[in-house]
Amino acid sequence: MVIRFDNVSHIYGPGTLFEKKALSGINLCVEKGDSLCICGKTGSGKTTLIKHINGLLKPSSGEVKTEGFAGLVFQFPEDQLFAPTVIEDVMFGPLNMGKSRGEARAAAEEALARAGMESQFYDRNPFTLSGGQKRLAALAGVLAMKPQILVLDEPTAGLDFRSSASLLKLLHHLNSEGVTVIAVTHEMNLARDYFSKLLILDSGHAVWNGNTADAFCAGNRELIEHAGLEMPQDNEIEFLLR
């Protein structure tokens, strides 16, 4: 077991007028090599939940345990690029982990290659890249730290079809190498096609926590729609045909 949530609740700004309960009583077990998708509409607590995985947030009550290093790729990660060159930006993480410059460079080159960026991009200024390339560079910045758990917040948001397909292929590849992959999305087709486990959040409560394959039966239709999501297209067509 690499991640374990025990009755986790999180309250923002307790005791103020801005107080908001973002998570209530979440129980979650993720095994090594799992691929988990977290779904829910805007404001359902998805991002709050993943911030607990690497300790950016501490639960207000309950307990979170993780094993190994968890790399977090935030929504629109291209906004975090800062170094004068792509390679230096990707080296930022490994260097922070205490690697030497040589080791960091090697890790960065490997990560960029995995993300599908060729060596001609290494010395480019990240601000001159296209949106899709920026996102790959930012993803490489996390991959270079060799995370055992990779958590992504809306990885395909704003990407064109081809870029998101290659990104998902990369995630699938990493997963088959034993990396635990967790992604946040509200696209149910994506959840069904690429992830074996599914967690659906509705106003901070886990309303579905189990295998993706079992989630999209007709009996769960109401639950999914109540959570502000829609059934994947194929399942919806099947339902309508009946």
């Binding site: 103020t16 800062f82 993480g93």
Partner: protein, 252 residues
């Protein structure tokens, strides 16, 4: 970083929230003047008591008011120490004066932004400075710049927090040695500036595409007006102001 609440509205719906923003701005200026009129312990204590009463009435928690200028208190403290050391006679009073003036001025400005939304502040500036239009001063543009600035403080703060989280997840060290800390701070500042410029550009484009500023004078959705509460507040404030003047004149 998340503790920077200066310029953030606190919607506790107290009586100060309801007052006319132009009046509140006037009170702010007069209060600061009263701080400078007062030169004795008695006078300064009157100012302190007044601002305390205002905070209680506003229903904004003391914690929020204090938090919004916590970092500046150090500045006030340091300057009062310097004043104390450089004044040969009566250094204690001089230091007290500097400290009270700075913290109370910060406090009252914090209270204004905590009880007044940015657009009310902008409207208040516009209506209280509108007489300057006689001298061809672009009051409306000034008010708009102020309003945009105030609007953007929480937006940029949120953005900074997002980038902070992302870099922290990449192992950025904000507490280690100076060299590491510096590179971590750069990793926040560069993307933050990039996004601020991008946002400014987008805002300018969208305003221009709506023909902002090229037509006749703009009207308002909510006009402020003067209500009973405003009259009452003015009377109370006027009595406070006269009181500080009389303390100065009678007690020196």
């Amino acid at each position: 970083m998340r503790d920077v609440t200066f310029g953030r509205y606190y919607p506790s719906k107290g009586p100060l929230h309801e007052l006319n923003a132009a009046l509140k701005l006037l009170f702010l200026v007069l209060y600061i003047i009263s701080l400078f009129i007062s030169v004795s312990y008695t006078g300064l204590c009157v100012c302190i008591i007044f601002i305390f009463l205002c905070i209680i009435v506003s229903r904004v928690p003391f914690k929020s008011v204090l938090r919004s200028f916590r970092s500046m208190i150090i500045l006030a403290f340091v300057s009062s120490v310097i004043v104390c050391l450089t004044h040969a006679d009566n250094g204690a009073l001089a230091a007290f004066t500097v400290f009270v003036r700075l913290t109370c001025a910060l406090c009252v400005s914090a209270l204004l932004t905590l009880t007044t939304t940015p657009s009310e502040v902008a409207d208040g500036i516009q209506s209280s400075l509108s007489f300057l239009r006689v001298f061809h001063i672009p009051v409306q543009d000034i008010a708009l710049s102020v309003s945009i600035t105030l609007h953007f403080i929480p937006v940029l703060q949120e953005e900074a927090e997002k980038i902070y989280n992302a870099q922290k997840s990449r192992g950025a060290d904000f507490s280690g040695n100076l060299a590491k800390k510096a590179s971590s701070v750069v990793s926040i500042l560069v993307p933050l500036f990039a996004s601020a410029f991008r946002r400014a550009g987008e805002l300018a484009d969208s305003m221009e595409s709506r023909c902002y500023g090229s037509g006749p004078e703009r009207t308002r959705l909510h006009s402020a007006g003067i209500h009973e509460a405003d009259v009452l507040a003015s009377l109370l404030f006027a009595s406070y102001f006269l009181f500080t003047i009389s303390v100065r004149l009678l007690l020196w």
